[in-house]
Every structure is written in C-alpha cells, then in structure tokens.
Symmetry: C2
Subunit: 318 residues, 2 copies
C-alpha cells in the first residue's frame, strides 16, 4: 500500500480523549487531545467531531485516510463495535462503530482501551516477543489485559481483566464498586488519595503521595499497603495464568523503581514454590492505547501486515 495512507486513532477516557493520525509507516503525523464532555450523547458527538477534525487534518497533509479506531473503557464487543456499558462515559448499548463510521466516512474499529494498550506493548513495547503476559494499567482504577499463547482473553461478556476488583483482602475496606477488599481500594490513584486522607493526611494526589515517601509516615503506610495488595493480586494472576511477564502501565507506573523494587520483593515473598514472572514498566506509557487503536484500525481493513513492518523496522510509532 502507499505510504500516503493513514488511520485515525482515538483513545477515549473519562476525562480526556487523545486522537492521532498515524500513517502506514507507523508515524504519528498529528496529535490532538480534547476534554471528554459529561453526558452520553455529548460524548458521542465529541468523539465524532474529533474524528472529523483528525480526518480533515490528515487530508490536508496529503494523506489518504483509510480507517479509524476508537478504544475506550467499558464492556466492549470488538466484533460488533457495540459498547455494552461504560460507566465513566454514561454509555449503555451504544453502537459506536457504526455511529463513528458514519461521521468519519471510513470504517471505525472499536476496542477496549487496556486490551489495545496491551496489544501495543506486545507488538512494539515492553512485551515484544512474549506470548504469555499481563498488561496492568494502574491509574485512577486498575484494569488488565491478559494474553495467553499470544492472544488476548475476551471472556464470555467482553469483561475480563477486572484486576482492580479482585478481592485481595477478604472482607476488607469497601470499594466504590460496593465490593469489599478490592485491589484498587489499596493500589490505585483514587485509592491512595482516599486512604491517605482517611489517615489524617492533607488532600494530595497519588503522585504527591509517592513523592513524599521516606519523609511522610502516612504516605509510607498507605504505599506499603498498596504494594502488598498489588503483590497479592499478582500472586493470584501468576497462579491462575502463569504469565512470563507483567507489564505495568498507567499513571502510577511512573513511580518507576519506587514501585518495582518493593513489588518484586513482595511478590517473591508471596510465591514460595514457583518463580515470579518478570515485572517491567510499560515502554509506550500513555501512548499505548492510542498506538493500539492505530493497530486495530489497520487490522480492521486487512492491513495488519503494515504493523509487522513497524515492528521489523523498529519504528516507534511516534
């Protein structure tokens, strides 16, 4: 195919939507972020507007736009392009694929944001060459994409990978979801901020709490409990799924070795009779979802082969 072909890629989150035009060589030739409005119909409208703007920009650069993709949180049926439920977006049973294809004038593939990010890490990032791995996104909440034999798990209702809501502390603190002892009660941006304040700390976000480690006993305490909870969750993941690698992404993965070092020790301590999987940081960071979306777009029109070329040529898609 001509290198002047390109796709539209949108990573839709609860607070912002990040769009890009990505050409067939894997280059991000244009990026554009917009806030996500509140209200289901407004979100649909805004995503459509972004796709149209991206398309116009791509065409003005002389590119031929051949497809698009939107990845989002929620219950996503990749095959039909219907979003069953996405609480942050106020969506239920939204046929996003057909709605966006109409707006964008090209086929628009729909995918799950964390599964798309995992796919990007597998093809171009920290999980390159690994068939059995788990991509864990630790942001406001926690979600995972689970890969076995190279394939991402889809589950019976397109809702696997809810790692943030496994009960790591039996009958523990109540989660915003109503369950008790969920992993993300302890290890997540929202969980750390809430627990830090509940122990008498000033209102601070997770990044600020991490920055105070070593000089703030409350920060130290909630962080230690968060790492313990994540280690319990990853011990469970290891016993159930036997991954070779855990890739940590999402905002909290920016803590780097502050997270990795104690986590590795805690996971080794949990697993007495089998080796822990390797743990690595995402190399694509917050671009992973958008890069995954561009891959889905090319694949959806039968051009998945261009992506293998990105990989072979070491193009970092940015």
């Amino acid at each position: 195919m001509s290198v002047t072909s390109a796709v539209l890629a949108v990573d839709l989150g609860g607070t912002s939507m990040k769009g890009a035009v990505v050409d067939a060589a894997g280059r991000t030739v244009h990026e554009e972020a917009r806030p996500t409005p509140v209200g289901g119909d407004l979100v649909i409208e805004a995503v459509g507007d972004l796709l149209v703007a991206l398309r116009e920009r791509g065409e003005s650069l002389g590119l031929r736009i051949v497809a698009g993709s939107v990845v989002s949180p929620g219950t996503i049926d990749d095959s039909t392009g219907v979003i069953g439920y996405a609480s942050n977006l106020d969506w239920r049973d939204v046929p996003l694929g057909s709605l966006m294809a109409e707006r964008a004038g090209v086929p628009v593939a729909i995918g799950h944001d964390v599964r798309a990010a995992g796919l990007a890490e597998q093809l171009l990032g920290a999980a390159g060459g690994v068939d059995d791995f788990v991509h864990v996104a630790i942001g406001t909440g926690v979600a995972a994409a689970l890969f076995d034999s190279g394939t991402v798990l889809r589950g019976a209702t397109s809702s696997p990978g809810e790692l943030g809501h496994i009960p790591v502390i039996a009958d523990g603190e109540t989660c915003t979801c109503g369950q008790r002892g969920c992993l993300e009660v302890y290890m997540s941006g929202a969980g750390l901020a809430r627990r830090y304040q509940a122990r008498g700390g000033e209102p601070r976000d997770a990044e600020q709490i991490v920055a105070r480690l070593g000089s703030d006993p409350i920060a130290d305490a909630v962080w230690a409990e968060a790492v313990h909870a994540l280690a319990l969750g990853l011990a469970t993941v290891t016993q159930l799924l036997d991954p070779a690698l855990v890739v940590l992404g999402g905002g909290l993965s920016r803590a780097g070795n502050t997270l990795l070092d104690p986590l590795r020790i805690a996971l080794d301590a949990q697993l007495t009779w089998r080796p822990a999987p390797r743990i690595a940081l995402s190399t694509l960071g917050s671009d992973a979802g958008r890069i995954g979306a561009s891959v889905l777009a090319f694949r959806s029109i039968g051009l998945g082969d261009v992506v293998t070329r990105w990989h072979r040529e070491g193009v970092l898609a940015s």
Copy 2:
C-alpha cells in the same frame, strides 16, 4: 475409519491409575484401575505395564489399537510429551510420551489431568456448547482448567490454573505449599480434614465432615469457611476471566447441593456489580480425566473428528 479402532486412555493420579480402552464410537469397552507405586521409576514402569495390559485386552476383543494417552497432574508440556515436574509422582523432566510410545507400540499423547477433564466436560459434559468456562477440580487439593473462546489456557510454563494456591485470605493460615491463605487451605479434602481436627474434631475425612453438617458445630464452622474461601476464589476468577460457567468436579463436588446452594449465595454476595457465572456440577465425574485422555489420543493421530461424532450421537463414552 473402522469402528474396530480403539485407543488406550490412562488417568494417572498420585494414589491410583485408571485405564480404559475406548473405541472410535466413544464406548469404554474395558476399564482397569491399579494402585500408583511410590518412586518415579516404579511409576514409569507401572504406567507402561498398564498400557501393555490395556493393549493386549483391546486386541483380544478384536480391536485395532491406534494410539494412547496418559494424563497426569504436574507441569505438562502437551506438545513435547515431557512432564517437567510432578511432585506426587516423584517425576522431574520425564519424557513420558516417548517412553510410553515405546512400551505401548503406538503414539502416546501426554496431557494434564485437569485440562483433559475440562476438555471432556466441554465436549461431552456439563460445559457442552460453552466457550468461556472454568473447570474446577476439588479433591485433595484444588486445580482448574481455564477456557477462553473455546481454548484452554496453557500459560508460559504449562502451569496455569493453580486455583488452589491463590491467596484468598491475605496472610492467612499457612498452606502445605509454604504460602499463606491459599484457597485449598480452606476448601479441599486435605484442608477440611486438617482444619476439622485442629478445632478439636475427631480425625475424619472431608466426606464424613460434610455428612455431619447441621449436627456438628465444628463441621459447620470449617465448611462455612471453606465455602467463603471458594466464593472469594470464584469472585476473583470471575473478575479476571469473565467465564459464563464454572463446572465443579473432583471428590468434593459430590457434596452436590450442600456445596452449590451456599456457594451460589456467597458468590452473589461477593459480586455486587456484575452477575455471577452459572455454577454447575461435573456430569462426567471421576471419568472426566480418562474420557479427556481418550479424546487426546484420537486427536493426536488426526482423528479428532470421531469425537464430534460422539457428541452428535449423544454417546456418553461409557
């Protein structure tokens, strides 16, 4: 193929090995069980002897033996037929497939006992027609076979499905494996017997403990904790894997509704925001592993199609 063709199927456990000759119509024409000796070399010898005896018996019935299969616990590489590690059998790096082919004079496929049982439930039992399900074997310990989109998960080191060793009670009682709070500390044959006695009960096995429910407060207490632990484990499985169905097999599944009724209530209580998967009892019971082995044997020589016929014709393989 001629209906006079047949395979040798062996389900090898730590205490006994159950063998059968299964013809291409799915009929078990001969069954034979033997105790499993102690000591790795003796086990290899004994399995070989059983295969030879099964072969002779099959031939004496006028059957043509075309393949065999042995399924066992442990770290099984189905593709190479090598058993990496099986603690109960005192095996490490045993090339069982080639050793048994030499003894039996036919190709011998090697598989994992719980994955084979799950395959049998999928093709001919409680999980018929379900692509995304979990087969949980609750015996002396607990293990699971995990199916997504119709395919069983294999993991990076052929060791997924260790449901018995996920930490359901953080920092809970120590397991025989050295970890703490493992599911099978609480819900397993060995766990129930040990905890019943630790609370002052007479030495009894799990079946006896279950029989005393309602009239023995110690039995009631350890059973309630066991059901709670299993519900926590299945809540985790649901959040991670999103199965449509959980099939319960193994000796403790014979508790039937005594297990199912409180388990369903406890799992519903754990999962506040998503529906629990259906929970059903194994329909193949202790035959599941052996039936799965016969399926693996036919498949290994390219005759997997005969098994679809068993399914279509409703043959129960016994």
